[in-house]
Amino acid sequence: MMKINKRGSSNKILTIWDFILFGIIAIGFVSAVFAVNSKEVDFRQTEAEILADKVMGCVIMNGEIITEKFDKIKNNVFDFKEDCKIRVLENLFAEVVIKKDDESEKFSYSDGNVFIKDLCGSDVKGAPKCSIKVIQVKYNEMNYFVEVLGGSNHNK
């Protein structure tokens, strides 16, 4: 039915170039559709912000460090799930650092995927999203800093 064009022939239905053009158009459409359908809605930055807020709200109340939580962090018995109602999933990272303003005392607790922390702020494509929050608070009449890092690479 289809006759391929031969040089000098007057019978021209579809040339090989037409087939190539159709092929390119078809590939273009198929790849555009797959690109749109496989697109992920990225909530990682929002999730990192919420995580950091949750951790901050868990160790600080009314501008002061909660003594019970601070003691647990000091004694290394703090647990995000038990103390903050946060399940740090495998593609999340959370860290809280409490230090005196002169850095003579520094305690920290973290949980989750440490690679997320390492890649925070990286320009690499698909790098995790992070949120860092620092608050100065009073504890026993002394100035302390509470630093919280929330990181997320949770996209699926």
């Binding site: 158009i25 749109v36 697109k39 992920e40 809605v41 999730e47 919420i50 109602k85 399940r87 740090v88």
Partner: protein, 129 residues
Amino acid sequence: MKGFLKMNRKGFIKDNIISIGLVIIFLLAILFFLNRTSDFGSFYAQAYAKKIAMMINSAESGMTIIFDGTELYEYAKERGYDGNLVEIDGSLVIVRMSSKLSRRFEFFNNVVPIVSFDKTTKKITVSIT
């Protein structure tokens, strides 16, 4: 000679009609493919699952969050799906657009949420216990 030209013109018109026909078939095939595949249902299901998970993450015990789910309802309706649009399975939010199409997303807040969808008001209600 006259007969030959007549036959050649006839052949030329016939070939062109076939060419145009083939191009139309190709375009119709592309339109059919786009109609079958360019479905944003999966995208919407995913967006809703993540949105609900973020709301649960930021919520505190005792809170109730109500938000609009009209788009979700319309997409499910288009597919003739009448089942549960949103449900919670442990720490997973599951959004269904049809019996086959569903997307899920895990929340980190260690709470027990109850999610419901009101088909009259098209509102999604998330209650945190």
